[in-house]
């Protein structure tokens, strides 16, 4: 009987024999193609998936395979300069700086960030939106990073919940989605004087871009109002696509959504605005005066982009790999799908 026991012990030990997991570092060129960032979850950290332009090659966990270590959770967004990619992980208050083509880490921005969200680059400076403490509505700021030494050189105080940030000339345009609360402003920051002015839009502005008339187009999601005692829905404020003349800082057009319909994604390509609301993608021309009633594509999406007649989208999964889709805009058919990063949220198309 001892013998059997000993044999059993040996068998069990060999079954569960221990080995440290080590990663063979690989150096690849990710200059062209598609990058998909995943936020990560309790099942795994944030990660980046690479797809070649024709989707024939796929590499998962490209930060891990280039550096041997993982990113934190949650990977919020990635910004790009001439030579670097800046990977923003909001929970860890860290921006990992990597070489834009190899994804090998070259530095880190760690100090003076608090819940960083998005970043844009003007010359040698990076501008990062920060929520601060997401529950605190008065500690939000833009961190100005000197990209030559990866240090935050100063901060600019702004209203609650700064989210997306884009630049035009020396000016920054920031949408205030409102962090864990709600907000309804676009901040305009003059980087020469650090002066901040605000434009009021509909509630929870998120995605924004400049159209071909150099007007700023903003997507506001609208807010859902809950009854604080039983959390039933008490009402909604409307979402809208609004166009702002940035010379006079006035809203010149406003296309409201139906009450209770909350759009969440918007991209601009060749004069067309593609937007997503509640499981459906629609398209309007930048000069249109009403929203579209025609569903272009019906698909749950959390991130999307459009280029060369194709629409790219991700449907996230936080407990397994997410789904990535390519649609042909001509036929509106899905032409490709594959599994990508855990909690996939953003798509970056590179040339």
């Amino acid at each position: 009987m001892y013998k059997q026991l000993i044999i059993l012990l040996v068998v069990v030990f060999s079954l569960v024999s221990c080995h440290q997991d080590s990663i063979t570092l690989v150096e690849r060129d990710y200059t062209t193609g598609i990058l998909i960032s995943g936020e990560g979850s309790g099942a795994g950290t944030g990660s980046v998936t690479y797809l070649s332009s024709d989707q024939s090659a796929k590499h998962q966990f490209i930060y891990l395979s280039a550096n041997g270590v993982q990113l934190g959770t949650f990977l919020q967004s990635i910004a790009f300069s001439e030579i670097s990619a800046y990977i923003i992980v909001d929970n860890t208050n860290t921006i990992s700086v990597v070489d834009k083509s190899s994804f090998i880490k070259t530095g880190e921005i760690k100090e003076d960030l608090k819940t960083p969200r998005f970043m844009t680059v003007i010359g040698e400076k990076g501008y990062v939106t920060n929520w601060g403490d997401p529950y605190n509505t008065t500690d939000d700021f833009i961190a100005v990073v000197d990209l030559s030494n990866n240090k935050v050189e100063k901060t600019i105080s702004v209203g609650n919940g700064p989210e997306r940030i884009i630049s035009k000339g020396n000016k920054l345009y920031v949408s205030h989605k409102g962090a864990y609360g709600t907000n309804n402003i676009i901040s305009i920051i003059d980087t020469l004087s650090d002066s901040v002015s605000e434009i009021k839009v509909e509630d929870n502005p998120d995605e924004l871009f400049f159209n071909s008339h150099d007007n700023l187009v903003v997507l506001s999601e609208g807010n859902t109002i809950y009854n604080p005692t039983d959390w039933s829905i008490e009402g909604h404020t409307v979402g809208a696509i609004q166009t702002i003349d940035v010379t006079s800082n006035t809203v010149i057009s406003s296309l409201p959504f139906k009450e209770g319909e909350h759009p969440s994604l918007m991209v601009f390509d060749a004069g067309e605005i593609y937007y997503y609301a509640e499981g459906k993608v629609f398209k309007i021309n930048e000069n249109d005066e009403v929203l579209s009633a025609t569903v272009l594509i019906a698909q749950n999406l959390y991130g999307m982009d459009v280029k060369y007649g194709r629409l790219y989208g991700v449907e996230p999964n936080y407990t397994a790999q997410s789904s990535f889709y390519v649609f042909d805009l001509e036929t509106q058919e899905q032409t490709f799908t594959t599994k990508v990063a855990l909690g996939a949220s953003k798509i970056y198309l590179r040339d």
Binding site: M1, Y2, L5, L8, L9, V12, F13, L15, V16, S17, C18, H19, Q20, D21, I23, G42, A43, G44, T45, S47, Q60, F61, L64, G68, V69, Q70, L71, G72, T73, V89, N91, T92, D133, Y135, T224, Y226, T229, D230, W231, S232, I233, H262, S264, E278, G279, N300, Y302, P316, N317, Y318, T319, A320, Q321, K339, L342
Partner: protein, 629 residues
């Protein structure tokens, strides 16, 4: 010393031994020892139970997580050493494990779980780990299995004192005091525990280091907790006892980060208080047990330990239970009970909610022949919030020859939705949820002789309508939904081997091995964080005054994503860790003893973890003093 090890040995055998025993001997035993939850100890039919005595628990005195992990067939998932931790039987969820205190289910109303690091059971006299469902007796959550802590009262003239203290690496100290005294009429037991640690161990993963090239540290893992318990019993006459159990606990912990985020500020406070009154009358052919209990729980979660703002959850629970048994003769009995509970819970975001539940159960237990015992039990619960299906259990033990026994248990079980699942803020709660249900079959074989005990169980379980938090369209909100079905198939194996080499020398080995195949019915993928192989063992050796032990825990690789992506980023590697202890027994005389022991934990500095990027401590040391008077 022989007496001590014999006690230990027989302790290990007890759960299998009792099934051979006749009712009258149990009754005789119970006249001296009063066990609040005597059912799990004596009357479980057709299922495997594992008894942990105080002797086994002190080997892993740091926390309950370690006790369960190193001594039972149960897999424990945690968020770093000392962090949130929960037990999972046979690949089921934390909500499918019922934790019982003196027979009362103490899973939280808020999340349906019991955190193993927010509970101190070091002063319990025994922990019984029951594998397999038990909803008929133990209610919601007893799907995968249940963990029972009992405080025993002794109605005989006695006076005992047990003092335990340990100190080791990372300023970890675990201490308890337990005293009991009594007479034929009175029984008193007092327990107190204090556990503390700065818990700032090095995270020994060579891939993650700071700018200077040093290991990162677990620098927000500090914990301290205090427990007090009192048990009182009065025996009016033979078989007529009144007892009262009360316990309070306060835990204050910081929640550490992981390798990619070592800097955190989270803090968590638990305060629990439990009271139980039991009146037991056993006369002629009738047995009545009247119970009432009042339990309160509260947690406070601080996003920033330096800030006064916190989220909280609170609950209070009243329970009344009347249990009646009629003995037809020595071999057959009819049992019935009525149970009423009133639970009220709230959080800073959920206004107070009350749930009332009534349950009625009836059971019959008998011996066909001397060697064939069986029982049938049925229960129906009525709940103010939703429909609860009726559940049943059929169990049987058949003794082949004296030493061999075949067990069979078939049962259905359930887990009711929790406060959070029903009422989570921002319209994320789901009032349409129904209870999770399971059906299971356990087939066991047990063998024992003077030096060897073997227990094996083959189990099959089907868990339906599992409540899963699922992202909604747009992914901004999550809602719990009755979504998944899973099957759980496997084997549990237990062995205890005792060999007396000479009068002064013995060796004892105890092992648990669990093979679990838990699959999602739709995707056919393995459930996440479920190890296929789980093995633990302890070998105790004693020669005169010198003692030694080697303990080990092995777990195979687990997947962390539901699509079972076999990539290093989404798995936890399998591992084997060893602990070693050596001690000196300064004296031993009857129940009195003084033992001092030095332990080396994780001897080979193995890098291992139970959640993504949260390594457990490397090699560490502690010394303990175990004094019994």
């Amino acid at each position: 010393m022989m007496k001590r090890c014999r006690t230990l040995f027989f302790g290990g055998l007890l759960c299998s031994a009792v099934v051979f025993a006749q009712n009258d001997s149990i009754n005789r035993l119970e006249k001296v020892i009063l066990v609040a939850d005597s059912y799990v100890r004596n009357n479980v039919v057709g299922q495997k139970t594992t008894l942990l005595t105080s002797e086994q628990m002190v080997k892993n005195a740091t926390n309950l997580t370690e006790i369960i992990r190193f001594n039972t067939p149960v897999s424990v998932r945690d968020y770093g050493n000392g962090g949130a931790s929960s037990a999972r039987f046979r690949g089921t969820s934390a909500e499918n494990t019922a934790v019982m205190w003196n027979g009362i289910n103490i899973n939280a109303f808020g999340n349906g779980q019991t955190g193993l690091n927010s509970l101190s059971l070091s002063t319990a006299d025994e922990i019984v780990v029951k594998s397999g469902g038990g909803s008929v007796k133990y209610g919601s959550g007893a799907i995968g299995g249940s963990i029972h802590a009992n405080d025993n009262l002794y109605f005989k003239k006695h006076q005992n004192l047990h003092l335990f203290g340990s100190y080791g690496s990372f300023n970890t100290t675990s201490n308890f005091l337990k005293t009991s005294f009594g007479s034929k009429q009175w029984a008193v037991k007092l327990g107190a525990s204090v556990n503390k640690s700065t818990n700032d161990y090095e995270l020994i993963d060579t891939r993650y280091k700071d700018e200077k090239g040093d290991f990162l540290t677990n620098n927000n893992g500090n914990y301290q907790n205090y427990g007090l318990s009192l048990s009182l019993g009065y025996q009016f006459s033979d078989g007529n006892t009144l007892s009262f159990y009360t316990t309070g606990y306060k835990g204050d912990r910081l929640f550490s980060g992981n390798l990619t985020q070592p800097e955190t500020n989270d803090k968590y406070i638990d305060v629990n208080q439990r009271n139980l009154w039991v009146w037991k009358v056993q006369k002629n052919r009738f047995s009545h047990v009247l119970k009432t209990a009042y339990l309160t729980q509260e947690y406070r979660y601080f996003v920033d330990k330096n800030n006064f703002d916190y989220d909280f959850g609170k609950s209070k629970r009243w329970l009344f239970n009347y249990d009646f048994t009629y003995f037809f003769n020595q071999n057959s009995s009819l049992n019935t009970f009525l149970d009423f509970q009133n639970i009220e819970g709230k959080t800073n975001q959920i206004s107070p909610k009350t749930r009332e539940q009534y349950a009625f159960a009836i059971g019959f237990q008998s011996f066909f022949m001397e060697q064939w015992e069986y029982n049938i039990e049925l229960k129906k619960e009525f709940n103010s919030a939703f429909h609860v299906p009726p559940v049943f259990v059929v169990g049987t033990n058949y003794t082949l020859k004296d030493a061999h026994e075949i067990l069979l248990n078939i049962s259905s079980n359930y887990r009711v939705p929790t406060l959070n699942e029903l009422y989570w803020p921002n319209n994320q709660g789901n009032l349409d949820l129904i209870p999770e249900k399971s059906n299971q079959v356990d087939l066991g074989y047990q063998y024992k002789n003077n030096w060897l005990t073997l227990k094996t169980t083959i189990f099959f379980m089907d868990v339906m309508d599992k409540i899963i938090w699922t992202p909604q369209i747009n992914s901004t909100s999550w809602k719990p939904i009755n979504l998944e079905e899973s099957t759980h198939t496997g084997v549990e194996f237990y062995s205890n081997f005792y060999y007396s080499i000479s009068n002064h020398q013995f060796i004892e080995a105890t092992t648990n091995y669990t093979y679990t195949m838990a699959k999602d019915v739709d995707t056919h993928k393995d459930l996440i964080f479920v190890p296929r192989h789980l093995f633990n063992s302890i070998v105790n050796y004693q020669n005169g005054n010198l003692t030694a032990y080697v303990q080990n825990l092995s777990q195979s690789k687990v997947f962390t994503t539901e699509d079972n992506l076999n990539h290093t980023a989404n798995i936890l590697q399998g591992f084997t860790v060893f602990n070693l202890g050596m001690g000196v027994l300064f004296f031993q005389d009857q129940a009195k003893s003084l033992h001092v022991e030095l332990s080396i934990k994780n001897m080979f500095n193995e890098l291992y973890s139970f959640s993504v990027l949260r390594p457990m401590p490397g090699t560490n040391f502690n010394i303990n003093i175990n004094y019994k008077l």
